[in-house]
Amino acid sequence: MQEAAHGRAPAVATGIKRAIPESIVFTYQGDGDLASIGTAEIIHAAARNENMTVIFVNNAIYGMTGGQMAPTTLPNQRTTTSPRGRDVSSAGNPLKMAEMLATIDGPAYIERTTVHNIKGISRTKKAIQKAFQNQVDKKGFSLVEILSTCPTNWGMTPVESLSWLEDNMMEYFPLGVYKDIEEEK
């Protein structure tokens, strides 16, 4: 395992994969990491179609640093750095990474899933399996964006946060397969 600097995992993974192409390489990244500080790295790893797997956990907040606004924080969502709710007129709009990355010609597979219910967990498992199988089969860059909760920093009970995800996040970040080169054939 290599620990990458915040946002740089796709570049570090590129270095590993290019050094040892037969190794199975994946990155595990949060929303602040992948959609803010590491935006350039993820876009260009996708554009180069690096044969790697990206597991992208989107919980709409910076959890490890204590609940600050993330690039995926929803409009009007309260965080410690958007205490009156995210005002898109000054704080900008959330980034829809799966949709953005799917516009690039490079990637093999991009899907957004959720883990807030059993059906979602089961679908997520299949998506992750496919994202790794693609790498084994040398099909190229595969990314699974997984909507997830953060009860502590959302200030909710775990059960409340599951419904909040379904009622709010899924509307802004619709689930689905955004790119699959197999289906395009």
């Binding site: 290599q2 620990e3 600097a5 570049a11 270095g15 590993i16 290019r18 050094a19 790295e41």
Partner: protein
């Protein structure tokens, strides 16, 4: 082996390949572009990999990833780009990964200019990124020396699991000189105890990181790094001296500036002035002790640099107040002339009489 006329930047590339470096991650910036261009042409011919990264930040992190597998890997840039790489360099040093970083220095600060300078001495030798760490910094003054030091840099990086910086300047990078690639054995180092090359037969995974949340563990890690830096200081200091016995004034210069100073020595002799030169080749570790050999016999020291005065601080540490230490520098891409240096020497001597 026959000598070949090569541009400095291209010679670095060929030297790296001959040292077994098959991975290069770069980003364009003047005046080092010939190096990534050369690698983009040559590496695919030998089954190696060249990637033009999306930024210097990405390039150094690709180096981190590849170095973490124990592979010989290199990146290059010039001053503003090296500033961008500092985060990654600190991580590489903290994680103890071997790699070679080339800085073909241009004038700063900020966007600065594209002409040669030596104003990245502090950044290269005193840290540059965050935390307590050291790079081994090698300063060639000819294209041949660049070739020899690049090859040596990979051995040093592997031996100490430490990033090595080749500190050139725009003049050396752009200059064409005849070079010889000496046959040398690539020293194979076994990295299997730490490199991330897959589990193999291991019971525990190898982990490359620089995170120590327990303060005592982090302090222990820093002590470990320091012991390594002490070992490097004990074993790897390189410098050359010219004409220093009984010299009235000893000039200290590295890289391009050292070559100019070598021209000043005979000019001064004609005027009856005996000048010496100490040319540090490792800027870190700096050759402090050699100054002890001459501090009693010389009248003063003069540090000549293409900066506003950076290495002069190490010269002052070395001389430790025993003799006057002077500075003469040009900056912003202006090159010191032999005449300008000699004039300064005469001023220093006048002040001493």
């Amino acid at each position: 082996m026959a000598r070949k006329l090569m541009k400095g930047n291209e010679a670095i590339g060929e030297a790296a390949i001959k040292a077994g470096c098959h991975l290069f991650f770069g980003y364009p910036i003047t005046p080092q572009n010939e190096l990534p261009e050369y690698m983009s042409k040559r590496l695919p011919e030998i089954g190696g990999t060249f990637v033009q990264a999306e930024s210097e930040v990405a390039a150094i992190n690709m180096v981190y990833g590849a170095a973490g597998t124990g592979s010989r890997v290199m990146t290059s840039s010039s001053s503003p780009g090296i500033s961008l790489k500092q985060e990654g360099i600190s991580y590489i040093a903290g994680s103890e990964l071997p790699c070679v970083i080339v800085n073909i220095v241009r004038g700063g600060p900020g966007l600065g200019g594209i002409q040669p300078a030596q104003s990245d001495y502090f950044q290269s030798t005193k840290g540059g990124g965050h935390g307590d760490y050291k790079l081994i910094v090698l300063a060639p003054s000819t294209v041949q020396e660049m070739v020899d030091l690049v090859q040596e840099a990979f051995d040093l990086a592997d031996k100490y699991r430490n990033p090595v910086m080749i500190l050139g300047d725009g003049m050396l990078g752009q200059m064409m000189e005849p070079v010889e690639f000496k046959e040398r054995e690539i020293k194979k180092v076994d990295h299997s105890s730490w490199a991330t090359v897959g589990m193999g037969d291991r019971e525990k995974p190898n982990i490359v990181n620089s995170l120590y949340l327990d303060p005592q563990e982090l302090e222990d890690h820093n002590h470990k790094l320091q012991r390594k830096y002490d070992e490097i200081t004990a074993n790897e200091i390189r410098y050359e001296t010219y004409n220093c016995e009984n010299a009235e004034i000893i000039l200290i210069a590295y890289g391009t500036t050292a070559r100019i100073v070598q021209d000043v020595i005979p000019m001064a002799k004609e005027k009856g002035i005996k000048l010496g030169l100490i040319k540090p080749i490792t800027l870190w570790p700096f050759p402090y002790d050699v100054f002890n050999d001459y501090v009693d016999s010389t009248k003063a020291f003069l540090s000549v640099e293409m900066s506003m005065g950076q290495m002069v601080e190490d010269v002052k540490l070395a001389v430790n107040g025993k003799k006057p230490v002077h500075f003469y520098g040009r900056s912003g891409g202006m090159i010191p002339t032999p005449e300008g240096i000699l004039e300064n020497v005469i001023e220093v001597l006048g002040g001493l009489e």
